[in-house]
C-alpha cells in the first residue's frame, strides 16, 4: 500500500472560478503572442510540426526562434497529460500516487544546497554571574559533500512526515567531476533511503547512465517503468518565457523514456516577471503549460508534474524573497491552477531567507508551510532543513521541520464525531456532574493511550533548549539502521555503471559506519 499523504478536506483557494478562467485565457494569449523564445532546435521543430508558429532562426547571442503556440495545440497537449502519476520507491510502501484532481499532499525535501550547516553547542558563562552557564547553538556552514548527501538521505528515511526525497545537497568533493556527479548523487540517494528519489541532472548526457543504474536497482527496464524509483526535475523554461537549450533537450529525452518529470518554473516578481500578481501568475502558468505541452507532444501520456516556484523580489538587493507573504500567495494561486488542469502540482513552501535556524526562519517557514499545505498541492517541496533561500541545509532544522509537519498533519485529521460518540459524551458529562470532584480527568486516559491526543512539543525545556534537544533527536534517528540496496544488486551497479566512487561501495560504506 503506498503512502497516504495528507488529504485536505476543504483546500484554501484565493481565486474565484472566473479569475481562474481569466488567467487561463491570459496564459493562452501569452503563449500565442508573444509566445516563447526557444534556444533549442528540436523543441522548435516539435512545436512547428504540431502547428505552432515558429519563426526563422534569429540572431542571438545565442541564436533563437520564437515559438507562438496557438490555443488548440495547448488544449491538445493538456488532454493527454495524465491526472494520476505514480512515483515509485525501493520500498513499495513508500510509493506516492498523486491525482491532480485530489488535494492530497505529499511532503518532500529538495533543492541542491551548496552549504551544509553543522551545529555545535559550546557552554557560555555569564560574566556578571560566573555560576550561570548556558549552552548556545553555534551554526557552522561548510561546503556540502557526498557523505553529507548520504547522511541527509538516511535522515530523510527516518523523518516520519517526509514522503519523498529530492536530492538536497550539492556534492562538491574534490574528486567529483561534472561527468560523474549525477551517478554518484543518484546512487548515494537511492542507497540511503527507500523513499522516492527525484533529482535534477547536472549533465544531461548522463541521463542514460543514470537510468541504467536505476533500472538495475528497480529490477529491469520494465520494472522501472512500473515502479519509477527515480524521477527528474527540470527547469526548461527560464523566465521570462525562454526554452533553455540544454535543459530542454534533457527534458525531451526524459519524456521520450516515459520517466516522471516535474516541469518547474521559477519567475521572480519584479525582475523576471511582473510585480503584479495577475502578471506573474499568467506568465508562470504559460511557462509551465508550454513545458507540459512540449512533453506531451514528444510522448503523449508521459507523466509530467505542473511545477511552480514563484517568488517575490527583495527590494533591497533584488534577490529572491521566499519569506515574503506574496510568495505564498502566488504559490497558492498556482496550486489552484494545477488542480484546474487536473495535473499533479509540484510546489514549494517553507523556504526562508535567513542562513541559520532561529526565530525568523521558524516564522517564515511555518507561515508558508501551513498556508501552502492548506491549498492542497500534491508534491510539496517544503524545504525540510533548508535555509538561506535553499542555499544551505541543516539536518537539525530538518528534524525540527519534521516535528512541525507532524503538528500540521495532526491538525488536518477529521473530527471524530458521530452519533455514538455524542451519546457517550452525554453519558460521561452526566457521570462527572454527579461526581464529587467534577473532573473529566479519568476519561482522558483511554484517549491518551490510544494515541488520539497530539503530543507535547518534544523540544521544550526549562530554558530554550529546542536546538540541543533536536540535535539529540537527530543523532537518535541517524543511529537507526537503513535498508540499503541489496549487496548483489549493488555489486552489479558498481560493475556496470562507470564513475561511482569506491567510498559508496557497500564494503567501504559499512567499514566506515
Amino acid at each position: 500500500m503506498p503512502r497516504q499523504g495528507l488529504l485536505i478536506p476543504a483546500p484554501l483557494e484565493r481565486l474565484s472560478r472566473k479569475q481562474i478562467d481569466d488567467i487561463h485565457r491570459a496564459s493562452l494569449a501569452i503563449l500565442s503572442d508573444p509566445g516563447l523564445v526557444c534556444y533549442n532546435d528540436e523543441a522548435a521543430s516539435i512545436f512547428a510540426e504540431a502547428g505552432a508558429d515558429v519563426s526563422v532562426l534569429m540572431q542571438g547571442p545565442p541564436p533563437y526562434r520564437t515559438v507562438k503556440i496557438p490555443p488548440g495545440v495547448v488544449e491538445r497537449g493538456l488532454q493527454s497529460a495524465p491526472a494520476v502519476i505514480t512515483l515509485g520507491a525501493r520500498n513499495s510502501e513508500n510509493a506516492l500516487v498523486m491525482d491532480g484532481r485530489e488535494p492530497r499532499v505529499y511532503f518532500v525535501t529538495g533543492s541542491e544546497a551548496n552549504t551544509w550547516v553543522d551545529a555545535e553547542f559550546p557552554i557560555y558563562v555569564k560574566k556578571s554571574d560566573p555560576v550561570k552557564e548556558i549552552r548556545v547553538a553555534e551554526f557552522k556552514p561548510r561546503r556540502g559533500m557526498l557523505a553529507d548527501l548520504c547522511l541527509s538521505a538516511r535522515l530523510s528515511e527516518h523523518l516520519e512526515t517526509l514522503d519523498g526525497f529530492i536530492r538536497n545537497v550539492n556534492i562538491q568533493d574534490a574528486d567529483i567531476t561534472e561527468d560523474i556527479k549525477d551517478v554518484n548523487k543518484v546512487y548515494a540517494s537511492l542507497d540511503n533511503t527507500t523513499k522516492h528519489v527525484m533529482v535534477g541532472l547536472t549533465k544531461p548526457d548522463q541521463l542514460d547512465t543514470v537510468l541504467a543504474m536505476a533500472s538495475i536497482i528497480a529490477g529491469d527496464d520494465e520494472k522501472l517503468q512500473e515502479n519509477p524509483i527515480l524521477s527528474f526535475i527540470t527547469c526548461l523554461v527560464k523566465s521570462p518565457l525562454q526554452f533553455v537549450d540544454e535543459t530542454t533537450g534533457s527534458f525531451i529525452d526524459i519524456c521520450r523514456r516515459g520517466i516522471p518529470v516535474a516541469v518547474s518554473s521559477s519567475p521572480q516578481a519584479g525582475t523576471t516577471a511582473p510585480i503584479h500578481e495577475a502578471g506573474i501568475i499568467a506568465q508562470i502558468n504559460a511557462e509551465v503549460l508550454a513545458g507540459i505541452v512540449l512533453g506531451q507532444l514528444v510522448n503523449p501520456g508521459t507523466p509530467i508534474l505542473y511545477g511552480t516556484v514563484p517568488v517575490r523580489t527583495r527590494m533591497d538587493n533584488l534577490a529572491d524573497s521566499y519569506g515574503a507573504v506574496e510568495t505564498s500567495q502566488y504559490t497558492i494561486d498556482c496550486t489552484q491552477l494545477a488542480r484546474y488542469y487536473g495535473i499533479p502540482n509540484y510546489s514549494t513552501s517553507g523556504v526562508c531567507d535567513p542562513a541559520f535556524p532561529g526565530q525568523q526562519s521558524t516564522v517564515e517557514r511555518l507561515f508558508s508551510n501551513i498556508l501552502v499545505t492548506l491549498s492542497g498541492p500534491q508534491y510539496l517541496h517544503c524545504a525540510y532543513g533548508l535555509l538561506d533561500c535553499n542555499a544551505a541545509f541543516s539536518p537539525l532544522q530538518a528534524v525540527i521541520d519534521d516535528t512541525h509537519f507532524s503538528m500540521i498533519k495532526y491538525f488536518f485529521q477529521g473530527p471524530r464525531l458521530d452519533g455514538d460518540e455524542l451519546e457517550t459524551m452525554a453519558r460521561q458529562i452526566r457521570e462527572v456532574l454527579a461526581s464529587p470532584h467534577k473532573l473529566f480527568i479519568r476519561y482522558v486516559r483511554r484517549v491518551l493511550r490510544k494515541g488520539l491526543l497530539s503530543s507535547p512539543y518534544p523540544y521544550e525545556g526549562n530554558e530554550d533548549e529546542v536546538f540541543f534537544k533536536a540535535q539529540q533527536r537527530m543523532e537518535e534517528l541517524l543511529s537507526r539502521p537503513v535498508n540499503h540496496i541489496e549487496r548483489e544488486t549493488a555489486e552489479r551497479v558498481f560493475r556496470d555503471i562507470p564513475g561511482l566512487l569506491p567510498r559508496l561501495h557497500p564494503s567501504e560504506r559499512d567499514g566506515e559506519s
Partner: protein, 226 residues
C-alpha cells in the same frame, strides 16, 4: 488465595481501575477493579493492614515510580489515587482497633471570592489517595467558616487554594484570623494556586507552598505531625 487477591489489588491500583468497568493502562487487564477486590479481600477476612500495605500502598509506590520515569501521566496518577481513596473509604470502618494509624485530616478550601476548584480537587484526590482523610470545605469559603471548622474539628492540615491575584490575599486573612483565634499552632497551613508563590506563602506565614498536588503529598509525608 489471599496472596492472589492482594496481588490483583496491587495490579489494579497500578492500572488505575477503580471498578471492573474501568479501562486500565493495559487493555488486557479486565475483571474486578480496586473497589470490588477490596470488598472481596474483606470478605476473605484479610486484615485491613495487609490490604493497605500489600495492595494499595504497594501499588501506589509503583505508580509513583512510573510517573517519575515519565511512563505515566498525571491522569494515570489521579486514576490510581482515586481508586485508592475509594478503597480507603470502604476500609475506614474496619481500621479502628488495628495497627493502622490514621495519617491525619487534611481540610481544603478555595478561599472567599474564588470559585476555581480544579487545583483544589486534584490535590484532594492525590492527598486522599496517599491515605489522608480529606475534608473538602468547597469553593468561595468565607474566612470565618474556615476558622470555625478548624476550631471544631481540629484538622492536622489545612489547604488553601486561590487562582487569582486578588483572591490569594484572602489566604493571608485566613492565617491572621487563625492567629487571632489562637488556633494557628494546632494546624499546618498549605497554600497553592496559580498566583501563589513560595515568597508569598512565607510572607503570610503559611507552613508550606505547594506548586502542585504531588508536592503537597511530598510535603505532607515529610511532616511528622499526625
Amino acid at each position: 488465595m489471599s496472596d492472589d487477591i492482594i496481588a490483583m489489588l496491587k495490579e489494579n491500583v497500578i492500572q488505575g481501575r477503580m471498578t471492573g468497568e474501568d479501562e486500565g493502562v493495559d487493555d488486557t487487564v479486565t475483571g474486578p477493579g480496586v473497589v470490588e477486590l477490596t470488598q472481596r479481600a474483606i470478605d476473605e477476612h484479610i486484615p485491613p493492614q495487609d490490604i493497605i500495605t500489600g495492595g494499595l500502598t504497594a501499588g501506589m509506590e509503583i505508580v509513583g515510580e512510573k510517573f517519575n520515569a515519565g511512563e505515566y501521566y498525571v491522569p494515570d496518577m489521579l486514576a490510581s489515587a482515586e481508586a485508592v481513596s475509594e478503597a480507603m473509604d470502604i476500609l475506614k470502618p474496619l481500621l479502628a482497633g488495628t495497627d493502622v494509624k490514621p495519617k491525619g485530616t487534611f481540610a481544603i478550601a478555595t478561599v472567599k471570592g474564588d470559585i476555581h476548584d480544579i487545583g483544589k480537587n486534584i490535590v484532594s484526590i492525590l492527598v486522599k489517595g496517599a491515605g489522608y482523610e480529606v475534608v473538602d470545605l468547597g469553593i468561595d469559603v468565607p474566612t470565618d467558616k474556615i476558622v470555625d471548622y478548624v476550631r471544631e474539628h481540629k484538622p492536622a492540615f489545612l489547604g488553601l487554594s486561590a487562582l487569582l491575584t486578588t483572591t490569594m490575599l484572602v489566604m493571608g486573612e485566613v492565617v491572621t484570623a487563625l492567629n487571632a483565634a489562637g488556633l494557628r499552632e494546632q494546624v499546618k497551613i498549605f497554600v497553592g494556586g496559580a498566583a501563589v508563590s513560595k515568597e508569598y506563602a512565607e510572607a503570610i506565614g503559611a507552613d508550606a507552598y505547594c506548586s502542585d498536588g504531588f508536592e503537597a503529598v511530598r510535603i505532607l509525608e515529610s511532616m511528622s505531625v499526625v
